[in-house]
């Protein structure tokens, strides 16, 4: 049996048997990345909307910096958060290093630029189409931008799914600030890294397939939601 076929059957067996360890790992992955996306969405959408309408000096520099942060390496984020949260760091008194909270903070920082940069672009494009008209109805700049987030809500969902994909698939940050502690901070990606280092490539690949399936199920759930179906039915106009 080829390594890929073996991985596939292992993945199916893991899901079919509802392996408790796997379930715990998957749930923790979803909780950490989901919470990070939620935090990233609150600050990223507001920040992106504000950046789309602000006319303050240095705005272009800020946008360029934000776009640069789209390529932020997760290991660097992990290192920075590690230094902040380590016992000798400025936030060491919180005592949350090597806990899921530290992982959530790291992933929030990772997804924030993604959400802010993409939502800024969405809002800016929509404002070109209808910003003046909303303004003539009495909407101030920030209100216009927030209304455009509502207007482009299905594109915003796509942005959030992109951010979730970035969070749930990264390994560098959660490995550094979480420590990959069995039963406490082990998530799918850190398990894959661990199994690879142990040489159990079929199991590592199987976990990769499980991760892909989890993201696929979330995407399918969104695509099949009543709102998304209405959007498709109306020709996405």
């Amino acid at each position: 049996m080829s390594a890929f076929a073996e991985s596939l059957s292992t993945a199916v067996a893991l899901v079919r048997d509802a392996d408790p360890q796997l379930t715990r790992i998957v749930v923790l992955s979803l909780v950490v990345s989901g919470t990070a996306c939620l935090i990233g969405a609150v600050f990223g959408l507001a920040g992106g909307a504000w950046l789309a309408v602000t006319r303050m000096p240095g705005r272009r520099v800020l946008i360029a910096a934000l776009n640069t942060l789209l390529g932020l390496p997760s290991v660097v984020v992990g290192l920075v958060v590690y230094l902040l949260l380590s016992r000798s760091g400025p936030l060491g008194s919180w005592g949350i290093l090597f806990t899921p909270k530290a992982m959530i903070i790291a992933q929030s920082i990772l997804v924030l630029p993604v959400i802010a940069a993409l939502s800024r672009q969405l809002v800016a494009d929509s404002l070109r189409e209808g910003g003046d008209q909303l303004g003539s109805m009495g909407a101030g700049p920030l209100t216009r931008a927030l209304l455009m987030l509502v207007h482009e809500r299905w594109s915003v969902v796509t942005v959030l799914l992109t951010a979730f994909g970035r969070a749930v698939s990264e390994v560098g940050a959660v490995m550094i600030v979480g420590g990959n502690i069995d039963g406490l901070t082990r998530v799918i990606t850190t398990t894959i890294a661990l199994e690879t280092s142990k040489g159990d490539l079929p199991l590592a690949l199987a976990l990769g397939l499980v991760l892909l399936a989890v993201v696929g199920v979330i995407n399918a759930a969104v695509a099949l939601s009543p709102g998304a179906r209405r959007q498709v039915a109306s020709g996405a106009r």
């Binding site: 003539s136 109805m137 209304l147 509502v150 207007h151 109306s234 106009r237």
Partner: protein, 236 residues
Amino acid sequence: MNDAAAPLLGLAGASVRYGSVVALKGVDVEIRRGEFVALVGSNGAGKTTLLHALHGLLPTEGDRRVAGATQAMVFQRPFMLRLSALNNVRIALWLAGVPRGERAARARAALRLAGLADRAERPARTLSGGQQQRLALARAWAVRPDVLFLDEPTSNLDPAAKTEIEAMLAAFAADGMTLVMSTHNLGQAKRLATRVILVDAGEIRADLPSARFFAEHADLALRRRAAALAESEELP
């Protein structure tokens, strides 16, 4: 006070520049309560710029005076949020500061006026062009503005939709609303307006009561009609 001659808003020495291009050159104009003013002129004459300047949408040199009049505007291509027709009207009412308790009833009344009551829950963007323009008029009417600005409201519509929009505008005017409309359709100006302002190269060339304008500028209407005819004959 409901003085028919009272100026609701006006511009004095108003100029608008787009970079090095002067789109409006020191214009003086006053809009009085109850008037239906048509701004006519060829493409690029400056009528839309004048309309936007009157509405306060453009940075304008000179004075702009508004006597406490509430305003709304209907654009050539109305922008509809990806929400239902009803919610588009409700958002306009929210932005206009209408109390929450009144919004639903006023929005439904506006949709009834526009003949869109049965399409209230439909996504606004799935409505036809004419229906969207009627929805835009309903949205503007719902906030009960003192002055309604209209930027070429029928330019992209078929004849049937044009007739429906003109009927709505005539009803608004009969109801006492002050309307200012830019149009290149002189027939429409003649049918609807009480006053016609001819704009050319960013300046006001004529500002007359409608009947007098068309008596004195019949040649203009004829020239336009001839030009339109020539254009249509050039079509394959």
